[in-house]
Subunit: 118 residues, 2 copies
């Protein structure tokens, strides 16, 4: 599959895919003409990368963790980092939940007070 196809199917930009390769997050074979040629499972990988980015992990962190995600094995250091990041995400979820509760209350209050005309 070529880069445009992968971009469409994964929902990320062509530029982003090249960037992932630059960061060693994603490999690609090349055609004789030098164009990128991705295997089918690249799609899963891109989505995984996106999930981890969405979780606030940096590319540096992701590139360190991807190997254990694919292989299912890790050194003690890697396991430590995995749990560190997992915990960080859990905290973020707590923060977001707090913020959401605040907004929920504000919305409640506003609705209860009646919406003011422009």
């Amino acid at each position: 599959m070529r880069i445009g196809q992968l971009a469409k199917r994964s929902g990320v930009s062509v530029r982003a895919l090249r960037y992932y390769e630059e960061q060693n997050l994603l490999e690609s074979a090349r055609t004789s003409g030098g164009q990128r040629d991705y295997p089918e499972d690249a799609l899963d990988r891109v989505q995984l990368i996106q999930d981890l980015f969405a979780a606030g992990l940096s590319s540096r962190t992701v590139v360190e963790l991807l190997p254990c995600v694919s292989t299912g094995t890790a050194t003690p250091d890697m396991l430590g980092q995995l749990t560190t990041e997992r915990d960080r995400i859990a905290e973020r979820i707590q923060d977001l939940s707090r913020a959401k509760s605040k907004l929920d209350r504000v919305i409640e209050d506003v609705v209860a007070a009646g919406v003011v005309k422009a």
Copy 2:
């Protein structure tokens, strides 16, 4: 209260507080000498701002929403934006939960497989 005190008590930097003022998120009275003088409730406000930032809202969005948060009233537009942001946060929470689940599984797998020596 002066800016250093507010910074310590709120846990955000002096620079950040000045930035908030620049973005019209936070007001301050001034002493005759031109130094910022905050009322007690500035502390709550700073924490609210931090919560909303932590939730991924931009300063532009926060400055638009802060009035209804303080007053408890809003125009229809503001109510719409409030719910939009609330929903965005809810989605973020979903994303993070997905990412966390993935990491949880990876950690499980790694532990089950036995941690590899360095």
